[in-house]
Symmetry: C2
Subunit: 434 residues, 2 copies
Amino acid sequence: MINQMNIVIVGLGNIGSYFYNYLIKNKKILFNKTNTVPNILFVSAKSLGKKRSFKIPKKLWLKNCLLASKIKDVDIVVELIGGSEGIAKKLVFEALKNKKHVITANKALVAKYGNQLSKIAEINNVNFEFEAAVCGGIPIIRSIKEGLIANDISKIYGILNGTSNYILSSMDKNKLEYNNALSKAKVLGYAESNPASDINGEDVASKLKILTALAFNSFIDNKSILVEGIKNIDQIDINNANQLGFKIKLIGVAESDQNKITQRVHPALVEKNSYIAKINGVLNAVIVESDPVGKTVLQGEGAGPGPTTSSLVSDLCSILRGNVKFPFVLSDKKRQFASFANISNKKFSVYLRLDVKDIHGILSNITKVLATNKISVKRLIQNPTMNKKNASIVIITHEAKSSSFIKALATLKKKNYIVNNPKIIRIEKINVYR
Amino acid sequence: MINQMNIVIVGLGNIGSYFYNYLIKNKKILFNKTNTVPNILFVSAKSLGKKRSFKIPKKLWLKNCLLASKIKDVDIVVELIGGSEGIAKKLVFEALKNKKHVITANKALVAKYGNQLSKIAEINNVNFEFEAAVCGGIPIIRSIKEGLIANDISKIYGILNGTSNYILSSMDKNKLEYNNALSKAKVLGYAESNPASDINGEDVASKLKILTALAFNSFIDNKSILVEGIKNIDQIDINNANQLGFKIKLIGVAESDQNKITQRVHPALVEKNSYIAKINGVLNAVIVESDPVGKTVLQGEGAGPGPTTSSLVSDLCSILRGNVKFPFVLSDKKRQFASFANISNKKFSVYLRLDVKDIHGILSNITKVLATNKISVKRLIQNPTMNKKNASIVIITHEAKSSSFIKALATLKKKNYIVNNPKIIRIEKINVYR
């Protein structure tokens, strides 16, 4: 007797189409690897009748995708619709409730409803798999859940969004202004027509929340997270960073300190010669610090139909092989309501940029505001701007509490010599080499 | 009812001891993650009675380790003895034949007998796991078998041995001669008292053979592999490399070209600013090039009891969760006797160092030998040596066939103006960034 599992693919965008064709082409090799035939039973999408470069036999068409969760013969539902609400949410909840295995690439859904969904999956002894939701083709979820399962993770961080990283890279390499870099990313297919979540940090935030829960055996926490995007970074910042020996990257960081977990997504200055500074374009990289293994680095393609399919298929093979496991490493009963903290007590060194009117006594006033807030200056550069009446002051500070910077900034904003909103970018020390 | 699996640990060196204590300490958390209790039933080692910093209850002592494979209650045998023959071999064969799952860190054994062992495991439907045999704590085997299972791998390569990498790094950083760097590695516990296999490339060769079989769905091939160690690298080479913009690394590379697989282990010059050049000390890094995912990089600690235990436990949890799979990705029946080729037709650019008597007309003679063998010079530096009658000529060549270099070298060796054996180090272009 030959084992077989029946699959329904829901959603036929770039990724769904690539995944469908991959499965058709590689059915036999996947059987050889898993001892189970991956059989596409149905395909469902809003655009089923649409003309495409490949043909889907009519007998595979499933008009109402929600039926996928009700048909007895269906073993696995692959959700590739996207969005944390609506049909995607309904489909995934229904499928798991009806004891279907679920594979999804939907980070927004997993971040928002992962706690509930994983509980249903565990109760029904089915897999809820979402490797493709985090960092495209990098097997980071599998690595935390299986390869690094022995380890006590203290920190997980990296570059988790290809679109924003591409934009920052081209602002740096090609000296493009933000808007031009974004347009270029759209032309090349690296940014969607509505790239809001890539740019405002929300996409990284979703991924980070999922990684945090996996890494720290906790439930997903949607409240305590700092999220800042890259919209305010301009060519002047990129240039200043370069002059000071840094690159600017959008990073996601989750770490545990004295049993408090912090989650933060923000642009950061990283040393020019560091590993992370060289992760350019749509590449992603994740660094895991844990005991007893030490630092582990995983780098790869962060997006695109090929890399995403690589992850979807790794999830699929896990199911085909009968490798049922808890979706978030630990049984739902054993996961913790961990303590999350905001970062107000965390200390950073920062890059502070102040565009000011070039009048007498300003520097002394600024440094006084900083001193009052226990912030000391490590480096200061004053440059004239194009408008000669103004000047741009760039300060690299020593480490101080996050809350101190917020207070100092609030004071500075009110000063009549400040031309634009003062800007702060944190400096992050990341070193993966010896 | 609570699931439980019974484990026998055989071998109590650094790694065995660390693993034993880890399991004792983390029994509960591993149960929470896998839903199965990992119960140490027996421990066996030559040195059972020896005084140690921790105590092993007498009821756990198993004097004859081979009994582990015969005792009915034993589910999992963890072999940490080492060596490709003798008791380790006997134990692993017997255990698999008796339907026990086997976990081993023994790369020599897996490289030599992996084909047979994996067949027995498959027939008996038990796991044969060896994550710890390759690259310490880096989950590279699990990533090939699971995370990257969708992919067609064309090349896998990297720095696979911490000891030799530590030696080359300290020769470079601390300007140590080879022997002093080796001594330092021994003092720090990075090299064994007999470090032969780390230094002559055999350790990398064993790991590479395993990776090759996994990556290319082939049987392990012990014949077609080039193995060169680092013994001949001296401070002059390190210094020359630096002046030319390179670092010297011991690399292992397996690649498929026109359906022929080549395997090679040798020192190589890599560009100073490349990723791989910065992997120093006992770090390991593996790069996988595959379709559709692209390039994936995994970096981490290459050795030591902590990282090795991380891998052993990932294997253990896979078994505890009931994740039985083919040891080499594909069913034994479907694995191929792939075509392996030697590298004689492969083209390289090389670093060629000739120590010569400083007499008239030599340069013309050398370049003539090279030209006759279709090797053209890209860069040439002639330096006087300490002994002023001699000179050192360093040549960076354009690409030419491996076989051409062998012929040229054979001719040059016979020349009466050659003082020492001519030396060739291949130049490898490795780029993981954009």
